[in-house]
């Protein structure tokens, strides 16, 4: 199959001088917006105690631990800004992402020991479940940096119980173990109660000498039976008992290394724990990349710095998706599937870091005379029509057959609407695409380049494809909403306007409400909102998209659960004809 993949068809071209000139304003807007995102990330990084204060206690921060643990240049953070419950701490208090450790890809997550000694906070279990789902989807190890003081007690009702509450990750750890996916844990600090289960639920435990893990901590041990309230005499008694237990926290290394043997290893130095994890990661099952690479890894011949010029911040501007894609894939090469059919959608095979991936993306702009073939109005890219939906159904099904991971790129305003579209079966074809995705067992990732809207956000490999979508990225141009805010205002208030008009009333109060709704839609679809609420798993600089694609492809091919021999693939043959 070497002739298929060594050199594929060329995609894209260098920017012309006129394009460079007219895209300067957009470039500056993108870079300014990305600076704003970096500011928000810095706020999260600086949450809680300072690095100096933690270091003065003889501890590393979670950021320093990650930096030491993960191979240089491979860290792809996820959920950095995720804060769905709007915690005043600005974080769910776990820091996670994908990175290589000792040359092997892993999902890595750690408690932020700068914030309340790594306490459970609202929204944290949802964050952790995204991470365990990610390890499951990509079939790669999960590495924990446990340092968890247990629940933030005043907020316990927000996260302790419920179906996806703070205990659910322990079941997920069990599920990962049962699937043969190891969960490694480096353990630091005091880990009582919830922290104890965070520590005990992984597969192999690497302990720091000063850590402890326990069913209950000193605070619980020193408690007393409820007596209907407190008084000063009781408080004095509590002080004495708490002092005693603080001096002897339960579950120390003496108990859980010497007695129970729960800790497999104990290290005197913080770095020693991380070195232990690195050593074990060398022993994790992982194919050498050469096993699945279809060609030598190669950069795109075009600069990634072109992407912030090519991808407009203005939601109404059209651009060339092919030009963007050419800057994201090896060699700027591809094999396009059914080029002449369904022109609003790109479907093709590309290489990322030498691995074969399938790419699907919305093309933009006017689609040419006579398209869509079932209607008398012009077709515009970003919308989905009959042919595009059929083409994607075919492509996804064939990718499933050939076991090729899929990378989706969304910039969609939705599926075509109206009676002509209904007659063209678009409702059924959209759901057919969902069926086709679900029929596969492929890892997928999504980059919402700009708009993610209407049902198209679901059917184009969106995060709603829970079992398939490993993670979803956003850019500073991303907007995600069910429809544009002004469209929603019309849908909501059009009949009300008619009633007010017929009653002879002033329309201004309704107009004000329409403007309020449109403004609300705008605010609740912005990139930062999408990141905080988890509509995307991370906002990334446009120039970093390829880095995440490489992490995805490398992870997907590290230890795949199912493979198709290259010479038995059918999709490349169908493309070639």
């Amino acid at each position: 199959m070497r002739p298929y993949f060594t050199t594929m068809d060329p995609l894209g071209r260098e920017l012309k001088k006129g394009e460079i000139k007219r895209t300067q304003v957009n470039l500056e807007a993108v870079l300014a917006a990305e600076e704003e995102i970096l500011g928000a990330v810095e706020t999260v990084r600086n949450a809680g105690f300072s690095t100096e204060k933690i270091n003065a206690r003889g501890q590393m921060t979670v950021w320093q631990r990650l930096d030491y643990l993960v191979d240089e240049g491979t860290w792809c953070p996820l959920h950095t800004l995720y804060n769905p419950c709007d915690n005043p701490e600005q974080t769910t208090n776990v820091i996670d992402g994908i990175g290589r450790i000792s040359g092997r890809w892993a999902v890595v997550i750690g408690f932020d020991n700068k914030v309340m000694a790594g306490a459970w906070l609202p929204g944290q279990s949802e964050n952790i479940l995204r991470v365990t789902d990610l390890a499951k989807r990509l079939n790669i190890p999960l590495v924990w940096l446990v340092n968890c003081s247990g629940a933030k007690l005043p907020d316990q009702e927000k996260f302790y119980a419920n179906r996806r509450g703070a205990g659910t990750p322990f079941f997920r750890h069990a599920e990962l173990n049962q699937m043969g996916i190891p969960v490694l844990a480096g353990i630091y600090g005091t880990n009582p109660a919830g922290g104890g289960y965070q520590s005990i639920s992984p597969t192999v435990l690497f302990a720091h000498k000063d850590c402890n893990i326990a069913v209950g901590g000193a605070g619980i041990v020193s408690g007393m039976a409820p007596q209907g309230g407190f008084n000063v005499e009781m408080a004095e008694a509590l002080v004495d008992r708490a002092r005693d237990h603080t001096a002897k926290p339960p579950g120390s290394v003496r108990v859980h290394y010497d007695e129970t043997g729960f800790f497999k290893y104990v290290f005197d130095e913080e770095e020693g724990v991380l070195d232990g994890l690195k050593e074990y990661m060398k022993a994790i099952p992982a194919y050498d990349p050469k096993f699945f690479r279809v060609a030598e890894a190669a950069d795109s011949p075009f600069s990634p710095d072109d992407i912030p010029r090519l991808l407009p911040m203005d939601q109404k501007s059209v651009y060339s998706f092919d030009q963007v894609l050419a800057r994201l894939v090896d060699g700027g090469e591809h094999m396009e599937f059914r080029k002449e059919y369904g022109p609003e959608v790109y479907t093709g095979l590309c290489k990322v870091d030498g691995f074969l991936v399938a790419c699907i993306g919305n093309r933009q702009g006017y689609l040419g005379k006579g398209y869509p073939e079932y209607a008398d109005y012009p077709g515009i890219g970003g919308k989905l029509y009959r042919q595009g939906l059929i083409k994607m159904n075919e492509f996804v099904t064939l990718c499933g057959r050939d076991r090729i991971p899929i990378i989706w790129f969304q910039d969609t305003s939705g599926i075509d609407v109206g009676d002509e579209a209904e007659k063209a079966e678009l409702l059924g074809l959209g759901q057919s695409l969902i069926y086709s995705i679900q029929q596969t067992d492929l890892p997928m990732m999504l980059a919402v380049l700009r708009k993610g809207s209407a049902a198209a956000h679901y059917v184009l490999g969106g995060p709603t494809a829970n079992r398939h979508n490993a993670f979803t990225l956003g850019t500073v141009a991303s907007e995600i909403y069910v429809m544009h805010g002004e469209t929603a205002a019309v849908a909501t208030y059009a009949r009300r306007l008619v009633k007010e008009k017929e009653a002879g009333n002033d329309l201004q109060p309704v107009v004000d409400k329409m403007n309020d709704l449109a403004q609300s839609y705008h605010e609740k679809s912005r990139p930062l909102f999408c990141a905080r609420t988890g509509l995307v798993d991370e906002l990334v600089a446009m120039t970093d998209l390829r880095k995440y694609m490489k992490a995805f492809a490398g992870s997907a091919y590290q230890n795949p659960k199912s493979i198709c021999p290259l010479h038995q693939m059918i999709l490349p043959r169908i493309i070639k004809g």
Partner: protein
Amino acid sequence: MSEEILAPLAGKIVKLHVEAGTVVEEDEEILVIEAMKMETPVFAPCDGTIVQVKLKEGDEVEEDDLIAVIE
């Protein structure tokens, strides 16, 4: 040698950046047509001078209507 700039699709001209006598470079944006809620830019096919502009901002155009001539 002159080249005609034609409307690539039906819609409304929402931006027109040139007039007769304007010197343009290849790939410079000449005008923008709005259709189906999206704005489609039309670029200069070559370096040159605009010698005729047949339409103005706000005009509706049909596909292949003559918009301007570049020389």
